[in-house]
Structures are given as structure tokens and as C-alpha cells.
């Protein structure tokens, strides 16, 4: 291992930022869609379920290319975002966050959905008889009870987002300082002679971050579970 160059640090900082933004911004959607899939019966439920899980099954490169087609400057959504809000995703770190969020979404939804399904609907009925409106029931009973599932889903998504490579490099390329995350940086270092040292350092950092996230999630999960079980 050798001393870290500024490029390496940039990759680490960028990866953390991309993964954090991807996780936090997708969390509300993850909770909403998990709720729909767990609790509601509606036409198109199967299609929604399939769409959510698609990135898990598709080759990441395909997902990345589809994102490029949709969100590129000339793409239908990308053009719209650019014209209306001045937001550009392609070849920007924000695009990396989008790619990471989409790739991590199925894992997040799965964990939260399981948590929803584990909540006893009879408790929610009891809350309603005590005078709580549906949103109140959700905020005061359902949400606290699924908290461990949300934490688990968020950590899984964060870890997945940190490691996302295929869709990211296809959608936003591998630009140092802008879109070069830890995996793309490792890939880049391995392409040049003498880059193995830097690559190894990044590998070690990856392992450390992953372990840290795992330990943190275990700790938070245990704390919440203890609070819920009483």
C-alpha cells in the first residue's frame, strides 16, 4: 500500500457522497413502494414489482445504458430535467447517485416490504379505534414498528451503492473528481502499470467502510429492536 494521492481521496469522498445521497433520496420512495407492494392490491401491482426488481436481474451495463438513453441530454427525461430545472445527470456525480439508487432500490424495497408484512394489522386497527386517523396510525404505530427494516434496507442500499460499477461507468463514465467512485478508481488503477498499490489501498478502504456500515447497522438495529420489544 502506498500513500494516498488526491485522486484516491477524491474517489473515496465521492463514493461516500454518491452512496449517501442515493440512499437518503431513494428512502421515501422505497418506503412508499414497499408499502404499496405489502399492503395494497391494485391493477399493475405485478408490473410495479417487476419494474422494481428489474435492476437486480438485468446486466448492470444494460441498466446503465437504459439510464443513458432516458436521462442523457437528448433523452426524453434528461431533456425535460435540463429544460425545466437545469439539472444534468449524464456524466455528473448526480447521475452516479441516480444509477446507484436504481441499482440498490430492489434491495431496499425488499427489506422494508418484509418489515411491513411483519407488522400485525390488528395493532393498526386498534390504533384507529383509539382515534388515530390513517396517517397518524402510520406515523405512530407502523413506522416505529418497521424502523429496523428501514435501517436494514438503508444499509443494504448504501453498501450496494458504494460498490456499484457497471451501470455507473456506462451512464456517467469514469471522470476523476466527478464520477470516479471507488470501484471505477480501482478499475482505472488496474489498467495502468504500477497501479496495483493504489488499487489495494482502495480495496482496503472499501472493506473498512463496508465493515463499518455493517457494524453500525447491527448496532442501530439491535437498539431499535430492543426499544420495540420493550
Amino acid at each position: 500500500m502506498e500513500a494516498l494521492g488526491p485522486e484516491t481521496w477524491q474517489a473515496v469522498a465521492l463514493s461516500l457522497r454518491v452512496a449517501l445521497v442515493a440512499t437518503l433520496l431513494s428512502l421515501p420512495f422505497g418506503i412508499g413502494i414497499a408499502w404499496l407492494l405489502a399492503r395494497r392490491d391494485f391493477p399493475g401491482r405485478g408490473v410495479l414489482n417487476g419494474l422494481v426488481h428489474l435492476p437486480l436481474i438485468l446486466p448492470p451495463v444494460v441498466t446503465g445504458y437504459l439510464l443513458l438513453l432516458l436521462f442523457g441530454r437528448q433523452g426524453p427525461l434528461g431533456g425535460l430535467l435540463h429544460d425545466l430545472f437545469g439539472i444534468t445527470l449524464a456524466f455528473r456525480w448526480t447521475g452516479a447517485a441516480l444509477a446507484a439508487a436504481i441499482m440498490a432500490f430492489p434491495l431496499m424495497v425488499r427489506a422494508i416490504r418484509l418489515a411491513f408484512e411483519a407488522v400485525d394489522p390488528r395493532l393498526e386497527a386498534a390504533a384507529a379505534t383509539l382515534g388515530a386517523s390513517a396517517p397518524r396510525v402510520f406515523a405512530t404505530v407502523t413506522l416505529p414498528l418497521i424502523a429496523p427494516g428501514i435501517v436494514a434496507g438503508a444499509i443494504l442500499a448504501f453498501a450496494k451503492a458504494m460498490g456499484e460499477f457497471g451501470a455507473t461507468i456506462t451512464f456517467v463514465s469514469n471522470i476523476p473528481g466527478e464520477t470516479q467512485t471507488i470501484p471505477s478508481a480501482i478499475y482505472a488503477f488496474l489498467q495502468v502499470p504500477g497501479g496495483e498499490g493504489a488499487a489495494l489501498t482502495l480495496v482496503a478502504i472499501s472493506v473498512a467502510i463496508a465493515m463499518g456500515a455493517l457494524v453500525a447497522s447491527e448496532w442501530i438495529g439491535a437498539r431499535i429492536a430492543r426499544r420495540i420489544r420493550g
Binding site: 386498534a126 384507529a128 379505534t129 382515534g131 388515530a132 405512530t140 426499544r227 420495540i228
Partner: protein
């Protein structure tokens, strides 16, 4: 204020079609499992939507299919105590109790103290639901429903999941609740012991319909309902007052038909009680028996004899102003030459009356 329920609801090939009123006090909805009792509770609470009907508390309509009224669950002001306590596991007992206040913003002054005292749960307030015994959790669930300041209380077999000892522990609290809360309490049960202890009004359901409704003293002493209530469970409820405690552990009660001697009852002299006497525990004799270990021999008059399809006969007896039931065989009826209007003696072993068969007056 009174709760009026008229509804029709189909579930599979079972049709519920009931029409009854629940005045202030405890109205027990009695029926075997599958008689549709829980669906009635669900419909009144707003958790089950009936096909047709009308449900109203006093002048306030909760549901009216003809007018298209369907007040949402959280605005019905109907406190529900379910078969399971359904306490929120992530909240303490105190937070559970105050949940309704937290979500509705209503403030009942000092009500928490009053309710915890009524139910004897003051020491549990800082505990978590997981650490409570079944009986404690049931009481907390009742308290939580009471603190939502309901206009009616719906109780769906709240003791069904408890063993006999826990039931006996909670029944006195329910009696106190009945005597303190001035609101209609609809109480679903298929346990005649609970009916006898708690009911001030009784509605008997069978196959989704109301068979009979009226005061429990009358209905429980009605031989024509015995087959519905269960032969081994059938028995009448009579009002009594504690007259004296003897040194040998026997308590003397006075009932309209004479003294009644029972195993010691922990109540002060003068306390009004209701006592349930099972039909199968009563013997009949045409002459006053002598040399008998049973302490109670009451002069009675045979009001009616009801023959069933089997070997048994249900005799309705009048002791003073109270009605008693006795289950005897057809053979004995013939051998004694029993007929309506005849005077004879009802014999009851003291120890046949279980402590759980004695309760507050209601």
C-alpha cells in the same frame, strides 16, 4: 344514551341479521362461536362494513346504509377491547394508556389516575407490554380503551384467552367498570359465568339472529333457552345480600326465598351480590329432607316443567320472588309425581357454588 344496532351482513354462506338495543350498563351478546358476535362488534367499531343497516349512539348515527352514512373508525368514539390485548409493543404501558390523547389531542382531566386505580395497574405504568402477564395486559387494554373517552365500549371476549384464575382476577374490575361507567357497554361472550356476573341486559344470538333479548335474571331462568345456553352451563342468577359470617367459614346470604348458606364470601355484611346457581346442582325433594349434609333447603313452587328430547327435564322453580332452575331426570320427575304448581323443596350443596359464581350486584 343507548346504542341501537340493526344490520344485515353476509359472510360466505352465513348471514348476520340482527336488531337490538344496548342501554347503559353491560349488554352481553351471547352466542356460540360462529353466531356472528364478533362481526357485530366489528360493524359497530367500523372495522367491518355491513351490507345494510343502521347503527346509532343516542342521536349520533355511525352507520346508515340508506342515508350513505359511514363514520370512519377513528371518529366513532367507540372504545374496543379485543380478544387479544393488542398493546403497542414499542410503547410503555403509560404511553399505551395515553395513546388516544396523543393522537386526538383531547385532555381528560385526571382520568389516568382514576382509570389506573379502577383497574389496579398503577404499578405497571413504566413497564413494557412484553413483560406483563396475560391478566395485566388485559387490564391495560381495557384502561387504554377507557382513556380514549369513548361514548360506547365494545368488548370482544376480552377474557377468552385467559385461564380461569386470570378471569377471576379481572371480573371484579369489570364489575366495577360496569358500575362506574355511564355508557353502553357491548360485551361479547360465550361464557355463561361472565354473563351471570356482568350482564345487565342480555341478547342471545343463534345462527346470526337475535333469539331473545331481555334482563338476564329472566332469560337465564327460562327453561326454553336452556338448550341454547348449554345444559351443563344453564343456571339462574339471583340477587342476594350478605346477612352474616359464621365462625366455621360459612357465609349466610339472604335471598327472597330464605337464607342461603355458601362458603365464605369476602364481603361486608349488608353487601348486595348476585349469585349464580347452576341447574344441574339443584336437587328436588317433595318432603323437607332430614339427615342431609347439604346446607340449603329452600321451599319452592314448581312453575313449569320442560321436557327435552333426552332423559332430562328442566324445572323452573319459584323461591320467594326469585326463579331457580333444576335439571333432573324424567324418571325422577315421574317418580316424585312433579307437576306445575306443586310445592316442594330445592336442595343445594353450599360448595357447589364456586367463588366465581358470586359477584357484585350490577
Amino acid at each position: 344514551m343507548s346504542l341501537a344496532v340493526a344490520l344485515r351482513h353476509r359472510q360466505g354462506d352465513f348471514t348476520l341479521d340482527v336488531d337490538f338495543a344496548a342501554p347503559e350498563g353491560v349488554t352481553v351478546l351471547y352466542g356460540r362461536s360462529g353466531a356472528g358476535k364478533s362481526s357485530v362488534i366489528g360493524a359497530v367499531a367500523g372495522l367491518v362494513r355491513p351490507e345494510a343497516g343502521r347503527i346509532a349512539v343516542g342521536a349520533r348515527t355511525l352507520f346508515d346504509s340508506a342515508a350513505g352514512t359511514d363514520v370512519p373508525v377513528h371518529r366513532r368514539r367507540a372504545g374496543v377491547v379485543f380478544q387479544e390485548p393488542r398493546l403497542f409493543p414499542h410503547l410503555t404501558v403509560r404511553e399505551n394508556m395515553l395513546y388516544a390523547r396523543r393522537v386526538t389531542g383531547r385532555r381528560g382531566a385526571g382520568a389516568l389516575d382514576e382509570v389506573t386505580q379502577l383497574l389496579g395497574i398503577g404499578a405497571l405504568l413504566d413497564r413494557r407490554p412484553r413483560t406483563l402477564s396475560g391478566g395485566e395486559a388485559s387490564r391495560v387494554a381495557i384502561g387504554r380503551a377507557l382513556l380514549s373517552e369513548p361514548e360506547i365500549l365494545l368488548m370482544d371476549e376480552p377474557l377468552a384467552a385467559l385461564d380461569e384464575a386470570r378471569r377471576a382476577e379481572i371480573l371484579p374490575y369489570l364489575e366495577r367498570l360496569r358500575d362506574h361507567a355511564r355508557m353502553p357497554i357491548l360485551y361479547v361472550s360465550h361464557n355463561l359465568g361472565e354473563v351471570a356476573r356482568l350482564a345487565t341486559h342480555l341478547v342471545v344470538l343463534e345462527g346470526g339472529r337475535v333469539v331473545r333479548a331481555g334482563p338476564p335474571e329472566t332469560l337465564l331462568a327460562d327453561p326454553s333457552l336452556v338448550h341454547l345456553l348449554g345444559l351443563r352451563e344453564a343456571g339462574s342468577v339471583i340477587a342476594a345480600r350478605v346477612a352474616a359470617h359464621a365462625g366455621d367459614g360459612v357465609t349466610e346470604l339472604s335471598i327472597s326465598g330464605g337464607p342461603l348458606y355458601l362458603p365464605r364470601i369476602e364481603a361486608e355484611v349488608g353487601t348486595a351480590l348476585r349469585v349464580r346457581i347452576l341447574a344441574q346442582d339443584v336437587l328436588l325433594a317433595t318432603k323437607r329432607p332430614e339427615g342431609l349434609s347439604a346446607l340449603n333447603v329452600l321451599p319452592v313452587e314448581v312453575v313449569s316443567l320442560r321436557y327435552g328430547g333426552g332423559p332430562g327435564v328442566t324445572a323452573q322453580l319459584r323461591a320467594g320472588e326469585d326463579l331457580l332452575l333444576a335439571r333432573i331426570t324424567r324418571r325422577s320427575t315421574d317418580a316424585l309425581g312433579l307437576r306445575e304448581g306443586m310445592r316442594c323443596f330445592a336442595v343445594l350443596k353450599s360448595l357447589a357454588v364456586a367463588p366465581t359464581d358470586v359477584g357484585g350486584p350490577g
